[in-house]
Amino acid sequence: MLREGKIGVFEAISVITFMSATKVLYSSSRALVEASGTSGWLTTIVSGVTALAGFYFIILLMSRFPGQELVSVFETVFGRFAGIIFSLLMSVFFLLNSAMFAREFIEAVKVYAYPLSPPSFLLVIFILAIITVLYFGFECVARTAALFAWPMLAGLAVIVILAVPLYEMSNLYPVLGHGPACIIKTGLLRSSVYGDALALAVVINSLQGSEHFKKSGVTAIILSTAIIATGFLIYNLSFPYYIASESTIPVYALTRSIEYGRFFQRFEAIFLFVWSISGILASAINLYFALSTYSKVFRIDDHRALILPQTVIIFSVSLIPLDISSIAYEHVNHIRQYGSAIYFGIPLLALLVAVIRGIRGEQAGA
């Protein structure tokens, strides 16, 4: 039995928010701007609301099986073999997320900060930081996330405030971007951005009961939606729609454009801090959930035995995409568009099967 310790609501919210909200700092936000034009901020609110609905089904599922974690629920509902398959699918998805965060980060660092450093060199440093965090277990991961939550929020708030002179209300026109149908369709498709709340179900026994699970998940989705929607809003306010979809990393482009006279320029230094901490934490958290799911499937008691092999996999997987174009246009885009099937599709399927077959957890049935 994997011992993961206990965490509070704030830690749980921080973990999920880092997983979800960090995406606005990477290239996938450009894809959303391209898809939705001036209404990126509205589209992501639709995604957030969809994710809340999806999370409601996860709450319903978990409430049928009190005391059981998601891996165990899948085994109860689908049987041992099919349960393992679904759990491993989740584990692979977390792993893929972690690898893509790592590679996106490295490519962006190559573009913006360290153009001469080899990607593998940057990746090794990135992964060493992840290993250090993971080695001390879930409690350490969660507390590190909680520790950096306020500084990260403060960093983002500073960027939002400093960019005020760049805001031009007319950049939000036409307000509905490519139209209401596009907002709803894109919003639904990209709801996986907030699907990370599912990860709480993997470690539900580390939370202080199901109430904390609900509270943490819902709050994290709302908070992440607020952060991402704000990110899109300030980006849409600063850049007209035809330029907004050009930047490799939209928020970075925004911080580079801030200036206050001769003395106060180059605010990307603040962004680099927010960006690197968030990137490392998002990748580490995703990798932890991959490890945790895998350990629970195969009844491995100590996750530390898996850290090195999994990080080697991360290293290798993250180097598979040939270039930044294939990462941005294909890999990350596919993860965002089809991730909902994993995040919400599998739990919904489990809920349906459980309801139809009348399966309940032992404690619930008692």
Partner: protein, 428 residues
């Protein structure tokens, strides 16, 4: 033991995190402060790079702000000029004579020659610039009448020790006078691809000092605005030939015209970018005398759009306030019943400048450099509807009505001037 190992690992992480592959000593870099681009002769582009003087080993000269000395007034700036296919290859080619790697991170100005700006090549140059990390979008964009190379050679520092500061302050004068636009690469590029409005750049030129006529050879202009000149035409002489005055106007991807200083101020007022400026108008009661005012924006301009008719109707209200600087006639314009006389005269003067500029942009340039399209776009719900409307084609035929609202807030150090005295010693 575990804690020590972890601590040691963390400390070891700090070493590579310093980014040793990308390490650069400041004195290994040639910092470019201004980039000049002309049409090339033996290749597509003639590139001129103005470089900050670096500290030599004895420390006789230094980086600006680094504590060392810098160019003294008589010093020539370091300038490299060469023909090349692109800016980036040009920097490599320039390295055949200059050992340090060029770095554009501190470049303050990018200067295009008028010839290049008016050609098809301009579009290619702008589009090719924006991808490179060292090109900062906060650098200002200039179009010089004549060659960019010549402008850069005259782009010297006269006061102070810091060339980058000089370049920055040069363009900062936009906020002081309004006679040049605040045109940085960020705004220019946004407008370059815009469906809302057309881009503008700062107009630059070299003054040969021949416009300052000797007595008996010139004639006094009827104008009082002081801004009816283009860059390089000011009647002045002394030290620096470099001059920034007016606006380069673009229609789509090419430069199509110029605005003088006065027109540039009117443009800034409509765009809501006017910060302050001294104005001189004829005294409304005694036209032989002049009145000077310092003018500020009171509020952002109000723009109302009506698209119900065949042609779009746009109403622009400019709201200004100001202080009295000088009243040559000693008329008591400070009195509440006299103040409106002067205010209306100023409103009328500005309205005629604004109307004339709008007409010029509609008829001559066919270019919405005011950003009126932004207000028009607010009437559309989707991007597709907006783009189908084709604002740039509609703008020349649009009805633009303007109104100027001006109030004198302060009267300077005098609240009631005493009358002037005639030759006979009687108050006029």
């Amino acid at each position: 033991m575990r804690k020590k190992t972890a601590l040691l690992s963390l400390l070891l992480l700090l070493l590579p995190a310093a980014g040793c592959y990308d390490r650069r000593e400041p004195d290994e870099i040639a910092y470019v402060v201004a980039i000049g681009l002309d049409k090339g002769v033996t290749d597509r582009l003639r590139l001129s790079l103005q470089i900050v003087r670096m500290a030599d080993e004895s420390g006789a000269r230094g980086m600006p702000g680094g504590g060392g000395q810098d160019t003294s007034p008589g010093d020539e700036p370091i300038i490299v000029t060469l023909d090349c296919p692109s800016l980036f290859t040009g920097m490599n080619m320039a390295n055949s004579s200059i050992s340090r790697k060029f770095n554009l991170m501190h470049a303050k100005l990018i200067i295009f020659s008028e010839e290049l700006a008016r050609s098809d090549d301009f579009e290619k140059q702008i589009s090719g610039l924006m991808r490179y990390i060292e090109i900062r979008r906060i650098m200002h964009i200039l179009v010089t009448r004549g060659k960019a190379e010549d402008f850069i050679r005259e782009n010297k520092t006269l006061i102070g020790k810091n060339p980058p500061k000089t370049m920055q302050m040069l363009t900062d004068s936009s906020a002081l006078t309004g006679m040049i636009p605040d045109a940085n690469l960020f705004n220019f590029y946004n407008d370059f691809k815009s469906t809302f409005q057309r881009p503008i750049a700062i107009l630059a030129g070299l003054n040969t000092f021949e416009n300052l006529k000797n007595p008996g050879r010139g004639e006094i202009q009827e104008s009082t605005s002081g801004g009816n000149y283009l860059a390089g035409e000011l009647p002045r002489k002394g030290y620096l030939k470099r001059e920034l005055l007016g606006t380069a106007v673009f229609n789509g991807t090419e430069m199509i015209g110029e605005l003088n200083g006065t027109e540039t101020r009117a443009l800034a007022m409509i765009r809501g970018e006017f910060k302050r400026g001294f104005y001189t108008i004829k005294d409304p009661l005694k036209p032989d005398y002049l009145v000077s005012l310092e003018v500020f924006p009171a509020r952002k301009p109000y723009v109302k759009v009506d698209l119900r008719g065949e042609t779009p109707e746009i109403f622009v209200k400019i709201r200004l306030e100001g202080d009295l600087l000088a009243v040559q006639s000693a008329e008591n314009y400070e009195k509440p019943d006299m103040k409106p006389v002067l205010e209306q005269a100023f409103e009328s003067e500005i309205k005629s400048q604004v109307d004339s500029l709008v007409a010029k942009c509609q008829k001559e340039f066919k270019s919405d450099i005011f950003g009126l399209g932004r207000s028009v776009a607010s009437k559309f719900l989707t991007i597709e509807d907006w783009e189908r409307y084709r604002w740039h084609e509609k703008f020349p035929g649009a009805t633009v009505n303007t109104e100027v609202d001006f109030i004198i807030r302060r009267t300077g150090l005098i609240l009631k001037p005493s009358p002037l005295v005639t030759d006979g010693g009687v108050h006029k």
